[in-house]
Amino acid sequence: MTDTRDAVLHAAPGALVLEHVTRRYPGNTDPAVDDLSLTVAPGELLALVGASGSGKTTTLRIAAGYETPDAGRVLLGDGNAAPRDITREPPQRRGFGMVFQHYALFPHMRVEENVAFGLEARGVRKGDRLTRARIALDAVGLGDKAARPVQALSGGEQQRVALARALVIQPRVLLLDEPLSNLDPTLRQSMRDELRATLRQSGVTALFVTHDQEDAFAVADRVAMLERGKLLQVGAPESLYHAPATRAVAEFVGRAALVPAERAGENVRITIDGVALEARARQQGGAGGPALLAVLRPESLVLAEDERTPAWRGEVVGRRFAGGHVVYRVKLGNAIEVEVMGDGAGAREGARTGVRLAGVSVATVPA
């Protein structure tokens, strides 16, 4: 056998393009996916995030071919020729791989038969396809479980079998539907890193859906956020966190208090209980609309114990140990509650304290 791991698993990645895709389910007035355009570059890992009902699973199913959009096109590019319109191509002809939320492993087949099934559908000879299945299983660390019935495997192992099954057909695009949601929290942490490593190594183009922003940030190169079928923002995890485009993105990604603010030249001015504090605005230029909200992350605030420096006054209503630091919840005036990162030396619940800006730049979003 001359098959090597690379020959078995390394795909020629394609580019997946969604153009103005709309999908409306019968009986629903609001479309599940609304004029959505998105490009996944060859070899890129892109996460679709959003709350449940935001249209991310429908988008994935349209990409896979299980749903046909009412309007718009799905295109597949291979980097050389012009992209091909695959909007109406049935799933079995797209050559995509898919990892389902509950893995959808065939319960009557052994692990290796599951992995080899896509090769069977492609007419690969039995001996050959089982060899390739074993290589794929080795790659996900399950080489020794090839002959087991799938139902004897743990959740994490099943997830890896599903991944091997999708990768062994050398998909042009890999689609993953909530691939980590069925795992318990500890396992989930380690599977994130493993998933990214496996996808990176295979070089595949991957679109994956999750409702968990931490999954998205840990695995994806870029993150696209959906709300009510519309694409709100797409970009690197850092840009979504530090420069959210809308209030919804700011609220969904990370922890933040959104506080009314105004622009003052290059600065943002935030006034609470008559005390105005300023920080450098992250987005330069463009005074924006009249009403703005400052995105106050825990790390953009510090506690100010001394009474002399100008600070907002408030009461500590909660504290939470978060590994290397402590996060305080502080109730300020005007019913505004913020989270402040600290070292845990100072305030207790119930104590009065001051809060000021930490000196980093602060993002704003339209109110």
Binding site: G65, P90, M98, F100, A104, L105, F106, A121, I169
Partner: protein, 563 residues
């Protein structure tokens, strides 16, 4: 260790278990053993006669052909229909779903009768086709094994349809999506994924069809013509006075049935998988426009085909006896058939007979089968595995064999051999019905009791309740859904029972089914059909009554819970 295992059996339960065991040994095992012993009464002479008789070998061959043929025919009708109705959306789907199980509502002999009126040599459909094609002779004759299989396909596809539909409802459709996503064609998907995963449902349905066809009596009896099957051959031998031969035939039939049962049970159990995801029904419209256009027409035609037998029986029940000869449809209509049944005592008698015998048998089933299910599921009494096995046994033995066993055993008074003269009395038929329905009632109650948390009874006892109070207030309510459903099925089966009845009836206790056959034999089609309609009405009353009872109790519980 399960909590169930902690409890030891009290002496009361142990005594009950032994009593039940004795009852089943006496009523189920003894008669069948008597048949087997009887087949050797003249040494191997009767067995040699069987092996040398062309008629018997023909009957054996016919039985196998009918059984296998019925399974194939029922699969060919039931599987596509189940897929169509659970997987696709089209105009007329709801109506078709509504009538798809209708053939199961026809008592066995009535279905056969309806086919005679429709597709027999002078049946309506036969004549329509004959006239349209301008033929002198009928285009077909409804006789022989093919006719029997045709009738079975209509009445028995329902088992396949119900089992496969239920299997598809539990089916995790993402498995199909996963397979197509991996590039599987429709054929590969069906062959490697869908059908293997439906194996338990298919095996269960095939078993049911095979067993029903194996023991089927009415269709071969009426349509068999020159073709023979064992079930009818047994009656022929008995009527000819060749009892020893009848015992051999019965033994062969019963052994075949038990072997088939063991074989298909293994297949059913080996391939049972828990589905990982949740079953989700997504009905899609077909992509092909031709198929989309043809489906409603196909649905309409199928609905007509399914309703036609019922409609035909109702129509003929208003036909004047003797007037329908060469016409397409009966020429004269009258209410006389019904009037006669109501006015003439002798004609009304089969109806009271059937109702009484069904009530007696079902009441006995309710009490005995509840006790069996309780001992099997909720106690540690010794012999409970044996009890479960014996309670399932009558299911594997064709009704003709059960009837012949009873005839062989209870034909004399010999109290020391535990034999009592029942043949020729009223009591032999209720006893036969009771035995035939033990499996279905017991398994229905067992099903309900297995869903009950077994610690509930302990909790009640721990709170100071006597065993009797716990039984009445905790166990009985838990058993109720199965009890109602099981006794309903038993009552329906008993009120229209034909196969055991035709072997064991006397003139005084003849049931409706036997009377229908007698009327048809005398060419009084109208009267026969009127009896059939009354039988259908009785079945409906029982079904509606059971639903009403179940609904009322459930409503009462809801009211209590709400208060």
């Amino acid at each position: 260790m399960t909590l169930r295992g902690v409890r030891s059996a009290g002496w009361g339960v142990t005594a009950t278990a032994f009593l039940l065991l004795a009852l089943l040994l006496w009523s189920v095992v003894y008669p069948n053993a008597a048949v087997i012993v009887g087949s050797f009464e003249r040494g191997f002479a009767d067995w040699k006669a069987f092996a040398a008789s062309p008629a018997d070998l023909d009957a054996l061959r016919g039985t196998v052909i009918v059984s296998v043929g019925s399974v194939i025919a029922a699969l060919l009708v039931g599987v596509p229909l189940a897929f169509l109705l659970t997987r696709t959306e089209f105009r007329g789907r709801r109506v078709l779903s509504g009538v798809a199980t209708l053939p199961a509502a026809l008592p066995p002999l009535v279905g056969v009768l309806a086919f005679l009126f429709l597709y027999g040599e002078s049946g309506v459909v036969t004549r329509v086709v004959q006239r349209m094609l301008g033929m002198r002779e009928p285009p077909w004759t409804l006789t022989g094994l093919t006719a029997v299989i045709f009738v079975h396909a209509y009445t028995m596809y329902v088992y396949v349809f119900l089992f496969v539909s239920a299997g598809l409802e539990r089916y995790d459709t993402t498995l199909d999506e996963a397979a197509t996503g991996l590039g599987a064609s429709r054929a590969l998907l069906l062959r490697r994924i869908t059908l293997p995963l439906l194996t338990p449902s298919l095996a269960g349905a095939m078993l049911l069809v095979f067993m029903s066809a194996l023991g089927s009596f009415s269709a071969p009896y009426v349509f068999g013509g020159g073709a023979r099957v064992l079930a009818t051959q047994i009656l022929v031998s008995k009527l000819n006075g060749a009892l020893g031969l009848a015992y051999v035939e019965t033994t062969v039939l019963a052994v075949t049935a038990v072997l088939a049962l063991l074989l298909l049970r293994r297949l059913e159990g080996r391939r049972r998988y828990a589905m990982a995801g949740k079953g989700r029904i997504t009905r899609s419209t077909l992509r092909s426009p031709t198929a989309r256009a043809l489906l409603p027409a196909f649905a309409a035609a199928t609905v007509i085909l399914l309703v036609l037998p019922h409609a035909m029986v109702v129509l003929v029940s208003f036909a004047r006896d003797g007037a329908w000869t060469t016409q397409l449809l009966p020429p004269e209509y009258t209410l006389d058939n019904y009037r006669k049944l109501a006015m003439e005592r002798e004609l009304w008698r089969p109806i009271t007979n059937s109702v009484w015998m069904s009530v007696l048998a079902t009441a006995a089933n309710a009490v005995v089968c509840f006790a069996i299910a309780y001992v099997v599921v909720l106690s540690q009494a010794p012999g409970r595995r044996m009890l479960a096995l014996l309670a399932a046994l009558p299911w594997a033995i064709p009704a003709t064999a059960i009837a012949l066993g009873l005839a062989a055993t209870f034909d004399r008074n010999a109290p020391f051999q535990l034999r009592f003269l029942l043949v020729g009395t009223f009591w032999i038929l209720p006893l036969a019905y009771f035995i035939r329905n033990i499996p279905i009632v017991t398994s229905a109650i067992e099903g309900s009791l297995r869903q009950m948390d077994p610690t509930l009874e302990d909790a009640a006892r721990g709170l100071g309740a006597s065993r009797w109070l716990a039984l009445r207030r905790v166990v009985l309510p838990a058993a109720r859904p199965g009890l109602v459903a099981g006794t309903m099925l038993a009552a329906v089966a008993a009120v229209g029972e034909f196969v055991a009845s035709v072997v064991l009836y006397t003139h005084a206790n003849r049931p409706i089914s036997v009377e229908i056959l007698a009327q048809v034999r005398a060419l009084s089609f109208g009267t026969g059909a009127a009896y059939s309609v009354l039988l259908i009405v009785l079945v409906l009353l029982i079904t509606v009554g059971a639903r009403w009872l179940e609904g009322r109790v459930a409503q009462g519980e809801r009211a209590i819970n709400a208060a």
